[in-house]
Structures are given as structure tokens and as C-alpha cells.
């Protein structure tokens, strides 16, 4: 015998309204829901690799330095974009791009800290606020940081954040898929 019919209906309505408001306030946004490609969790890394199918290397992130958080992650067939906030350098103080190619004509070549990739850096300004791009170019793809810090924040923050970037080979990802998932490749 149903005697709580109205109450249940009211609860359903309240739940629907809550979900609706949550959805309207950004809960249904893909970019705000995706997590950054961490090197420990292959879920996002696989579609990051699929976003630039020509790239031999694929970016992933280890633990971010203290004070940095991921704001949005966009992963599409055109590439991957990760926007990050910092409690010191400001909102969207760093953006990590992963595309098929990039323009390094204004940048200077430096010794690379990541295997298999060439490093280029273009410093727009250091004071009053740090603004620069750091490019890693490799066969079939390019990963670059775009730093735009608030005033009074040094370039040292960019070094800390840059150290969290790792490039894994597509072959290693394919091997991992074959070992733990199915006999296919990216």
C-alpha cells in the first residue's frame, strides 16, 4: 500500500530541480568535468593521445605543485587545452596546449629537459609580470606552455609547474592498451 506517494513525488521534483540547477550552473559542461591527463590514470591520457593522432609523444601531468589547480580541460579532435589557476600567479595563469604543430619562429632553442622533444622558449616580458611560452616540439606534435602571471610573481613558478609535465610515447600507450584492454592501438 502506497501512502507516501506525494512525498516521493515531491522528493523526485526536488531532486530534478536540484540537478537542473546544478546542470545549468555548469555541472553539465564537458570542459569543467574532464580531469587533466595524469600519468597514473590512463583514462584521459588515451583521449588526449587521440586528440592529436599524428603525435609520437603524448603529454600527461604528474602531481601539480602546491597552489596550482586545473580549471578546465578541453579535449577534442583538434587537440587538448588545459587551463590552470594559481593561488599566487592568478586565474588562468598557465595554459598547456597539445596540437599537431606550433609556431616557434620567435622562440629561441634551449637544451630540452624532456626526452625526444626539442625545447624552444619565447619570453615576452619578465617585469612587472612574467609572460612567456615554452614549446616542446616532437614528430607529429607540439606541446607548449603559455604562462601569464600576475604582477610580482617570478618565473620560478613556471619552472615548478613545468616540472609536472611528462611526455609518454604513443608506443608505450599502445603496449599498455594491448596488455590491459584489447588488441587494438590508438
Amino acid at each position: 500500500m502506497r501512502i507516501l506517494w506525494t512525498t516521493w513525488r515531491q522528493r523526485c521534483a526536488q531532486l530534478a530541480v536540484s540537478v537542473f540547477l546544478l546542470a545549468l550552473t555548469g555541472g553539465c559542461s564537458v570542459s569543467s568535468s574532464l580531469s587533466a591527463p595524469t600519468c597514473e590514470n590512463g583514462q584521459s591520457t588515451l583521449i588526449v593521445a587521440q586528440s592529436v593522432p599524428s603525435a609520437e609523444l603524448v603529454p600527461c601531468l604528474t602531481e601539480l605543485p602546491r597552489g596550482w589547480t586545473v580549471q578546465t580541460v578541453e579535449i577534442t579532435q583538434q587537440g587538448t587545452t588545459i587551463r590552470m589557476d594559481s593561488d599566487r600567479a592568478g586565474t588562468v595563469a598557465a595554459v598547456l596546449w597539445f596540437k599537431e604543430s606550433c609556431d616557434t619562429s620567435d622562440a629561441v632553442s634551449l637544451p630540452s629537459d624532456l626526452d625526444g622533444a626539442e625545447l624552444f622558449e619565447y619570453i615576452v616580458r619578465i617585469t612587472p609580470s612574467f609572460r612567456a611560452q615554452r614549446y616542446y616540439v616532437f614528430p607529429g606534435g607540439c606541446v607548449w606552455w603559455d604562462f601569464d602571471f600576475n604582477a610580482d610573481n617570478s618565473a620560478a613558478l613556471s619552472i615548478d609547474l613545468g616540472n609536472s609535465l611528462v611526455l609518454v610515447s604513443r608506443d608505450a600507450l599502445n603496449e599498455n592498451i594491448r596488455d590491459s584492454f584489447i588488441d587494438e592501438e590508438l
Binding site: V19, F20, A23, C28, Q43, I47, Q77, I182
Partner: protein, 563 residues
Amino acid sequence: MSDVAPEETRPEGQALIIANHTPVTGQRRRPSGEPPPLPRELNTTAAAWLIGFAGWACVWALVFLFDGPEVWITERDLEWMGPIVDNRQSWLTPSMQKVSEIGTFWATPVVGWVTIIGGLAARRIRHVVLLIVALSLVAFISTVISVQIGRPRPLGVSIIGAWEGFAQPSRPVALFAASVVSAGLTLAPFGRWRRSWFFASAALVAMFGFAQLYVAVDHPTDVLAAATVGVAVTLLVYRLWAPESVFPITYRGGKTAHLDIAGARGAAIRNGLESQLGITATDVQLIGVESSAGSTPLSIATADGSRVFAKLYSRSHLRSDRSYKLFRTLRYGRLEDEQRFSSVRRLIQHEDYMLHVMRRAGIDCMEPMGIVEITPDHEYLLVAEFIQGGREIGEVRVTTSLIDAGLTTVAQMWGAGLAHRDIKPANIMVQGDRLRLIDVAFGEVRPSPWRQAVDLANMMLVLALGSSPELVYERALQHFSEQEIAEAFAASRGVTLPSALRASVKKDGRALLECFRELAPERPMVSIQRWSVRRIGLTLWVTVVTIALLAVFVGSLNDIGLT
């Protein structure tokens, strides 16, 4: 001693009850567990889609908890889509890419906005809001599931279409399915038109789904799950908050407040009348629909050859009543003393109560006969005496005796501390030489003095429409003082007149309001604006909520697929 009340002592119309409480006529108590006359149920199609949705929920749970199902499903998916991808044709590929692109970026916004504009043009605000709710829920569910499942795009094939994020379920397919179903439920009338729209929509969704497989951005199960989510969630939202039986889609014009009394509801009305009031209905017809917007008025022929009058109230009428009262409160403040009804049951109880109170005060209005439950908490029928041979006062010549009867009615209401609050030609019936008041739904006990004064002015205007203001004023002096009449017309102006009365006065052409003001002693106008903390707070609240909802809606257009 006999258990049965003697025939001659039983009041007319009352069921014969014996000692063990078993009625011997049609009247009986509905036992626990027995469905009401019109149970509130999802139809078979909606139930089937919901079962499909529940099935996918089980699949997602298995995939989330174990590795095996994900591998098995992905292998099958790639097997199914392999022949499609391996046999891409150069002549077909550009078309499939275009279909995928249109479906992903254009279809949902176009269908969504056409539905919103069409729905607003047809004044179907509820359906438009539900479209946005459905799209938001579908977007939310798709996003949450896709992030939890974390399925990559198809592996081992070349992807030649646009995509974003994880694959399962396919977000563009889900949003497109939701938008076309919403469009059908908002714009297409039930029956052939809606069936045709749904067949066409199914074909469009299938074509879009095939294109997604062809360009290899989705697996087959991504498309199937998405279509199920889109259709099931949308059907559920519309069935719960805009069921066809209560909010029908029609383009016949006229009032949208009137419910369809054919089919299941018609049978439920007959069944309810029989089992709850012991009235055997042989025919149920709409009556006076052109002058009624707050309920569905019915004329019911009974087996004994007589007729009864009934008003069908549903949640749609309750919501209209709430919106009307909110509007009145925002516009006039506390003058109206408006309090909204919390349920349809309270609304119909109020009208039934007002009929009893009015009759107790000696006012000649319809005799109430009872309330019939059609759907608990959703639909009720108020049954009352049918005014046999009655005609609206606007259709007859208004004699001096009718003028006196009308003015006496107002005097009786004043004496008993009552107000009718909706005095207009359609609510005053003439039966022989009797003047009878109907539709007391807006009636109030101990109303504001302003409201009582407006009742007098409206009654005098109605009476003057069929006679002359001078005669009505002269007769009114027999019942009211000059000051009272002056107060009535000082409190009245265009907006205090029911819209039907305002239209009649305008059509009449005589400046009746001004005429009465000239006849009565001069008196300063009574302000109809009353400011209070409640009114200010309510106005601010409504403004802020409206702006906030609009801002959030505009900000989330992209997330719910409308850009």
C-alpha cells in the same frame, strides 16, 4: 430494529447506507490499494524507454565496477562498426562527415530554438521550460556518466569527424534525441501529427547515429545509450510535469485551460460520479467554456433525466490560480489579501465551502452536491445543481425586480462579511425571475472593505448594461447609502473590473463608470495600490530570481547544446 433508514426519512440524493457501512446504491468507499478513477501512470512507450534507460544504467554500473564487461562490449562494438569503417566510400564520406558535423554542431540548437520560439508564440511557457530542463538533465547525465566510464574514442580506426571528451554515451546524439522529442511534445498535436514527427525524428537520429559510426567518433553502444538517455529522460520530464491529458497541444484556439473530457478522463468522470456520489451520468459535455478559464465546466446528463453542473479542477488550474494571485499581489499589494492554495484539493474544498457559506447567508447560488476524486491530489470534480433554463444576465432584459435582486445579493454578502470578487455577466444567471450567482471560486470570507465596495460597483455595472445607470442608481439607494455607492465607484477603475465585464462595458459604449460617479456624491478616489514589506520583498525576489535564472540559462546555453 431495522438497520436501514426508512425511505421517507432519507434526504434526497443521499445513498442508502446500512449498518455494516456497505452502500446499496453506487456510492461506496474506495478500499486501500484500489486505483482511483484516473490513475496517474506513464504510458507504455515511456515505460519501455525508462526500462531501456535502467538497462543502460546496469551496464554502466558493471563497466564501472569490473574490467571484463568493458573489454567485451568494446570488442563487440569494434566488430560491428568494422565493416562500416572498412568500407568507407569516397562518394559517401563527405556527406557522412557533413551529417556528423550538422548533427554535432547545428541540429540541437536549431531544433531547440525553433521549439523555444514556437512554444513561446503558442504561449506554452511550461513546455519551453521543460525543454530546457530536459536538455540540462540529459547534458548532466551524459557528462557524469562519460567521465565516470572514461571510454576512449574507437581504437584502431581512423577518426574523421569532430568530437569532444569521452565517448560513452554520445553527448551530441543524446542532446539531439532530447531536442527532437521535446519539439514533438511541445509543438505537435497528439495523434497523427505527433506520430509522424516521432517517425521522422527516429529516422533523423538513426541517420545521425550512423554518420557518427561512419566517421568513427562513436561506438554503436555509445549511440544507442545516448538515444535511450535522450528519449527516456525527456519523456519522463514531460510526462511528469506536462502530461498530455492536462496540458494538451492543440491549435484550435480558445482557452487552453480546458481539459479533454473524452477517453480515459471521460470514463473516470462517469465512474467517479457513480461510485462517489451515486450519480449515473449518461452524457458529459463542456459548457460555457468561452467565459471560463479557471476550470473546465461541465454539463452532465443523468440517468433520471435531470442534469447536474460540474467543474473539473486540475493542477494546471491550481498553477494558473497561483500565477494569477502572484500577479495580483505584485500589482496591488495587500489589498487583495491573496493567499495561494497549496493543492487542488484545497482549491476545490474552498469553492465547495464558499457555496455552503453563501447559501447559509441566504444568497441565491447553486446548491453544492459534493466533490468527486478523479486523480488524488491532481484532479477533482465539484458537482452542483444545474440551473435549468438559466441564461446569463447579459442575454435578458434587466427588469427592476432583477436589479433589486442583484443589489440585495450584494447587500446580503456585505451583511455576512463575504465578497464574490468575480462579478461579471457570465457569473450572474437569470432563472425565471430569480437572479442566481455562480462561480464563487474567488469568494472570500471577511474580505477587505475595498473588495466589498468593488463587488457593489461591478454588480451595478452589470445591471446597468441591461438597463440604465440612472435606474440602477435609484434602486441602489434602497439598499445602500449615497456614501457607500460613492465609495464603490471611488474604489473602481478599469483594472478592478473582471476582464469580461471590462469588455462588455467597452462594447456597450456608454461611459458607465463615469456616469455612476456623477450620480454619486463626490468622493476622493480610493487608492488601489498598497505597499507593504511583503509586496516589496516579493517583487524583489521575483525580479532577482528571474534575472538569475535568465543569466544562468544564457551562461549555460553552450553546455546544454543550444549554441
